[in-house]
Structures are given as C-alpha cells and as structure tokens.
C-alpha cells in the first residue's frame, strides 16, 4: 500500500517539479512572443495609417487641383471652356438650317417666279465668352443666305441682375417673336407681323430683372432702322431711336397658378428718320416673297414710332404667343414731295402643343428621349398653328408705293409639325397659305406675279443648333 502510494507520489512530485520549473519559462516565452506580436501589430497599424494618410493627401491634392483646373464641357448646348471658378469662359456654338421650299398654286417659272428649291437659310458660327464674371461678348457670323456677314457683335457688362448693359450690334428689343432665338420659333419663318419691327441694330441698352424676376425691363438707344431691316454697321442718318420694352411674368413664383407661365409686355420705339436714300426694305410673306415695298424714291422724313403689346403663355405642353405691332413712319415720295404719316399694323397669334408630353418653351423643346431607331425612341413631336395679318396704310398708295405691284393687306395661316430628334437636331414641316388684298387703283392682275394668287407653300427644314 505504501509502495503503491509512493509509486504514485514520485511521478506526481516529479511532474509538479517539472511544471514548476518549465511554467515560468513558458510564461516568459509567451510574454516575449506577445510583445513581439504587439510590436508587429503596432508597426502594421502605423503602416496602414501611413498608407491611409498618403491616400488622403493624394485625394486632397486631387481635389485642390480640380478646383483650379480649367473645365471643358461638350454638350448639346455647345463647346465650353471655362476657368475653374467659372469666372472666365468661352463657348462655341453653331446653327445650320437647310430649307426646302415648294410653292404651288403659282405659275412658277412661267410667271417669272424661281422660288422652289433648297435654301441654306442660316449657317452660323456663334462665339460667346465671359471674362471676370461680369463682362461678356457675343460674335455671330452668318454664312447662310447670299453673303457672309457679321450678324451680332456685342459686349455685355453685368453690374447687378437688375442692371446690365449691352453694347454693339444685336436685336432691337421690340418684336416678341423676333427676340426669340432663330432656332426655336414655332414655325420655320416668323409671322408677317415681324415685318414691322427692326431687326439687328447698333446701340447701347440697359436691362435687368426686378421684383424677384417678375419684371424685366430693357431700354436702349439705337441708330434706328426701317421696319424689318438690319444694320449694315453704319447709321443711315444722324437721328437716333429710343427703344424700350417691359415684360412681366406676374405669377412666375406661384407654382400652383395656371397663369405661372404667362408673360405680358409692351415694347415701343420712338425716333426720327431723315435720309436721302429710299426705304428699300419690303415686307415679306411666310414664304419669304415680297408683297409690299415702298417706291424706290420714297424717303423717310420725320417721326417714326412703334408700339408692340405682346404676350407669351406656356402651360405644360401648350405654348401660345401673340403680338400686335403698330409702326408709324413719315415719308415723302422724294426729297421734296408732300409728307405723309403712314401707320402700318400687324398682328399674329401662334400656338404649339407638344404631342409627346414635353414642356413647350420659349427656348425650344427638350425631348424626353432622343430619336433612336434601334431602341425604338422617337424624340418629341409638336404641332403648331398660326394666324397673322398685316395691313398697309391706304395712304401709302399710290404716291409712296405702287398700287400695281403691291398688296395693301396680307393674311396668312400656317400649320406645322416639329420633330425634335434631340435637343440639337430638329426637323420641321410647315404649310403656309397667304391671301392678299389689293389697294384702290390696283389693276385687275397685279404686275407682281407673287400677288396674282394666294401663296401656298410647304417649307421643310432640317436644323442643327447647339
């Protein structure tokens, strides 16, 4: 029994002794290993922190560099290069319109009319820029039509939103439809009422937004132009025109109002014209054929003024515009003939409806999806309609304009379909019909082949505008 106990005790004692000898050694080894592991973890942790910080610094540097790097933007609104702070930019835009005009109901070439065919209506390179945020310029060259010309060349100075100056050659601020971009009018051609307002003139204007953008005013001094004319970069007399326009969008900030998109305005000009050269510019139909012009010897001499109430209404897909123009001019049949004050009047009402649901807009329709045959998307479609009338003062005939070769009134209607393949690409098909009235004393058959029948024409257009 004792032996047995002894035999058991000895190994146990030996084991205890061994454990008591080895354990501290094992503990010491563990502690060393733990310290080593901790150091390694710390070192790895530092390496990780360093890598993270390096990446953070790289990101900060990239963000800082991006803030100072110039920006390049290529969109369907043009090519823009701008400084990092957007204070300086230069934009390149373009407009190309290829029209096809098909007249019927006239005797065509047999009557001396050569009016069917393709026309490069507009081909423009538009350069715009901004410097130091508040100074801008616009330069537009026209390669379409019959001659290359500088269409617009002007400088802008922004003092505040409420006070901005424009100097140079640009559209005289009277006609509602004339002031709209050539790219985005409802029809290929503006209405005959636009014949009564001046086009691009040389001058200085101040403009701005007031009352939280609900009122916009423009007032300027210009060289002054006959109806429908553009400046040839020189004044044709020593007189100047004061031109002004005020428009208000009273419910602009009331999103719940159905009148939110209603803009009404009044524009006018006042000046004198006195020149030895004749009033050569005539009035043209929707098909761009002349239906009235003064006699070559008729000259302006005296007051000329215009009044043009106007409105623009947009509500979802519906757009309606209307304007009335009264243009008054004092003329003589020649330098020494009797003077008469003539009042010519015109008006128009146009409407458009976007069939595909996009919003109608003064700045064109932006299709929800571009035309893409492969993917089955078709862009946006808009139908448009217009009625317009222009009445020449009866007193113009026959002393100041020939009764034999002019109409004294034109009335036209138009119907059209606009297909917006994308924001930049547009196809238009318009039908125009214009009837003419003859002045007293006119022959049974007008000497102008244009006036011998109603003008009926299809004008189609393919346009790229960016």
């Amino acid at each position: 029994m004792r032996n047995s106990f002894f035999h058991k005790l000895v190994p146990a004692t030996f084991a205890l002794a061994l454990i008591s000898t080895v354990t501290p050694r094992l503990h010491a080894a563990d502690a060393d290993e733990l310290k080593l592991l901790r150091d390694q973890i710390r070192a790895l942790e530092q390496k990780l922190l360093v890598l993270e910080r390096k990446q953070e610094i790289k990101d900060e540097e990239a963000a800082a560099a991006a803030k100072t790097a110039p920006k390049i933007s290529i969109t369907d609104k043009g090519f823009t290069l701008s400084s990092a702070d957007s204070a300086n930019s230069i934009k390149l835009r373009g407009l190309v319109q290829l029209d096809h005009r098909a007249f019927f109901n006239d005797n065509g070439a047999a009557a001396g009319l050569n009016n069917n065919g393709f026309v490069l209506r507009r081909a423009r390179v538009i350069t715009e820029g901004v410097f130091a945020k508040n100074y801008s310029f616009q330069f537009v060259t026209e390669f379409g039509g019959s001659a290359v010309s500088i269409l617009d060349a002007n400088l802008g100075v922004t003092v505040t939103k409420a006070l901005q100056f424009k100097l140079g050659k640009f559209k005289s601020p009277i006609g509602l439809e004339l002031l709209q971009s050539d790219s985005w009018t409802f029809f290929n051609e503006r209405s005959i009422a636009t014949n009564l307002v001046p086009n691009r003139d040389l001058g200085i204007q101040a403009s701005g937004d007031l009352l939280d953008g609900r009122v916009n005013y423009t007032v300027g001094v210009f060289n002054g132009l006959p109806d429908g004319a553009s400046s040839n970069n020189a004044d044709f007399d020593n007189e100047k025109d004061i031109v002004g326009r005020v428009v208000t969008t009273p419910f602009k900030n009331d999103a719940s109002s159905s009148l939110q998109g209603l803009t009404v305005g009044l524009a006018g000009s006042f000046g004198r014209e006195k020149t030895a050269s004749g009033r050569t510019s005539g009035y043209r139909t929707d098909g761009q054929q002349t239906f009235f012009s003064y006699a070559a010897t008729t000259v302006s001499d005296g007051q000329s003024w215009r009044l043009a109430p106007q409105f623009d209404y947009r509500n979802g897909s519906l757009g309606v515009i209307g304007e009335y123009v009264l243009s008054t001019v004092n003329v003589r049949p020649s330098a020494n003939g009797p003077k008469a004050e003539l009042k010519n009047k015109g008006w128009q009402l146009s409407a458009g409806y976007v069939l595909t649901g996009e919003d109608s807009s003064y700045g064109g329709v932006v299709p929800k999806s571009n035309f893409d045959f492969a993917n089955g998307t078709w862009g946006a479609f808009e139908v448009v309609a217009r009625y317009a009338n222009l009445k020449i003062d009866d007193a113009a005939f026959p002393l100041y304009a020939s009764a034999a070769s002019n109409a004294n009134e034109a009335s036209s209607f138009g119907l059209g379909l606009n297909w917006y393949l994308s924001k930049a690409v547009l196809f238009k098909l318009d039908y125009y019909q214009t009837s003419f009235d003859s002045p007293a004393g006119a022959p049974l058959i007008s000497t102008s082949p244009v006036l011998r029948q109603d003008e009926k024409a299809f004008i189609s257009r393919f346009q790229i505008a960016f």
């Binding site: 910080r53 953070e56 900060e60 100075v157 003092v159 004198r272």
Partner: protein, 333 residues
C-alpha cells in the same frame, strides 16, 4: 431724335458708383498655422480701423496653405492685398516671377518686415516613449518623424534648415548637414503639403513618434488637443524663423486698397498687434510685450538664416529649387 450724350462715360460712371458703394475687403494670403493669429488680429484691426475712420467697415478674408503653394497662388492671380508668409523667399518669388512687389519690399516695414518671430521645436506623445531629446534622436532607426514637404511648406524648410544647422554645428561641415538630413528624411513616412497637414497627420491620424513643428503650432497642439497627450521637446539648437509680411502692390493699386492694406500690416507692430502675436505663441518683436511672454517661450540657441545659410535666396536655390539638395536626397529615399 438727336442724342449726343457721352454714353460710354455714363456707363463708366455708373459702374464706378456701384463699385464705390462696396465696403473695403482685404485678402490676406498666409501660411498654414496662422489661422488663429489672424482670426484674432483681423477682428482687432477692423475695430481699430473703424474707430480711426468714422466707422468705415473693413473685412479681412484669410487664405491659408503651405507657404510656397500660397505664393504660387498669388503669382497665378490670387488677388491678395497682403501676404503674410512663412519665409522671405516665398515673398521674393512675387517679385522674381511676377513683379507684383518691388525688389526692396523687405525694407518697407521695421525688422525687415517681420513683425514677429518663431522657431522650430519637437512635439512628442505623452511620456516621450521614444526618448526624444535632441536632433540626433530623430535619425535613429525605428523613429518615425513627421514634417511637411519643403517644396510646398515654409515651415518644412525651416525644419530642414534647423536640422542641417544642428549637424553642421556638431560636426563642422555642410557634408555632415547633408548626411544628417538624408538620414532624417529616411524616417519620414508622409510628406504633407503644409504644417497644419502635418499636425493633422501626427495628432489626428496618430502617425509618427515626433513632429518637427513651428513653436506656435506646438503650443497650439497642447492647447487644443491636451497637455496630457503631448509634450514639447526643445532641441539644443534651432533656427530663428522670421515670417515676413508685405503689401502686394499691383493688387492694392488695382483695387484701391493700398492705404488700408498698409495700415493693416503696420498695425501688426502696434502694442495690440504684438500682444495678439504673443497670445498666439509667436515671439513679439517689441521687447516690452515680449517680456510679458518670457515665461512662455523657452530659451535656446538660435541660428539665423543669414549667418548659417547666406540668406534665403541662397538657401532656396541650394536646397529647395528643382534639382537642389532636397530633391537629391529625397529622390534617393
């Protein structure tokens, strides 16, 4: 209607009238760690200016970053009315590269246009676990040193030159200086672009064992992040850092702010300006004000850039220009 008004003159007058209605605004383009100093000083100056000028309002905007980077910004068109940078070489660059200031700009204000001074010290973690006592400890294996990039940071250039001066004094040659800074930058894991970035690396990202730092920035670390977490170690030798200030002549003439910009910098030398510097841990030039803060700033041997390196122009060209000594040692890292 005949109109013979001088339209362009009217336009110019209208623009001028609008411009003149604005209050005076200055832009002070400064280096990284001066944010707090100029936040205090701008407020004091605006009050002083209003008192002296019938309530006229002056607003001073601040821009901060690595000193070299800030100088390049001004050269590239940042419209600074005044620059308050880390070292004279960065302001010299405004003359050399863009003629924005005259060559003798430093003579226009007292003390070579340096209204306050500072120096370079070390910040270590509480308890100084790596036992950092002097520059030699920074090149030991396993010591991780935080200092910004001398190519972009003025403070980093002072750090570099202080280290060089220490080795040169200890071993008596520029070769020793080069060897020493080479070894030092081998222990630098991250190069921030400015001093404030380095503080972020050391304090907030918890990288490194020691940060070489502006003295004022070191005090700020203790104040903002806790004296229970960090300690300042003052080396046996350091460098007298003299951050200069200057009006940017071309900008102030164009903006019509010359008088107020001049007054702004001159006010740095006033008793109040000097006291604000002292409160923000910059060493005031005014000895009376400096005495008030004598117990704040440790006394140590300070070498000068002129005596040790022949001035900033020479030091810049030798050490920090493209292809200079720093590029040689750092590209070999």
């Amino acid at each position: 209607m005949k109109l013979k008004f001088p339209f362009f003159a009217i336009l110019a007058l209208a623009s001028a009238a609008v411009a003149s209605a604005k209050s005076i605004e200055l832009l002070n383009v400064s280096y990284d760690p001066t944010r707090e100093l100029y936040a205090d000083f701008n407020k004091a100056f605006a009050e002083h200016w209003a008192k002296e000028n019938h309530g006229e309002v002056v607003t001073v905007k601040q821009s901060h970053g690595g000193s070299g980077k800030q100088a390049r910004g001004v050269i590239d068109g940042l419209p600074a009315d005044v620059v308050t940078l880390a070292l004279a070489a960065d302001i010299d660059a405004l003359y050399v590269n863009a003629k924005l200031i005259p060559q003798d700009w430093q003579k226009r204000l007292p003390e070579n246009s340096t209204p306050y001074t500072s120096t370079i010290v070390f910040v270590v973690r509480k308890g100084n676990p790596k036992g950092i006592k002097d520059w030699d400890d920074l090149i030991k294996p396993g010591v991780s040193v935080i200092t910004p990039n001398p190519k972009t940071s003025g403070g980093a250039r002072w750090n570099y030159l202080a280290a060089w001066a220490y080795a040169k004094h200890k071993q008596g040659s520029d070769d020793a200086g080069k060897t020493f800074v080479s070894a030092l930058y081998k222990n630098v894991p991250v190069l921030d672009s400015g001093a404030r970035g380095s503080t972020t690396t050391f304090v907030q990202r918890e990288i490194g064992d020691v940060a070489i730092s502006w003295e004022n920035e070191a005090f700020l670390v203790l104040k903002e992040f806790g004296a229970d977490k960090y300690e300042i170690v003052v080396p046996s030798i350091s460098i007298l850092a003299e951050p200069p200030v200057a009006i940017v002549d071309k900008v102030v003439k164009k903006k019509g702010t010359e008088a107020v910009a001049k007054a702004y910098l001159e006010y740095l030398y006033s008793d109040e300006g000097q006291d604000i510097a002292g409160r923000n841990y910059y060493r005031p030039r005014n000895q009376t004000i400096a005495a008030k803060y004598a117990n704040v700033f440790p006394k140590l041997e300070l070498v000068t850039i002129d005596a040790e390196f022949g001035g900033w122009t020479k030091a810049q060209k030798t050490h920090f220009a493209d292809g200079g000594v720093f590029d040689q040692i750092y590209s070999n890292k």
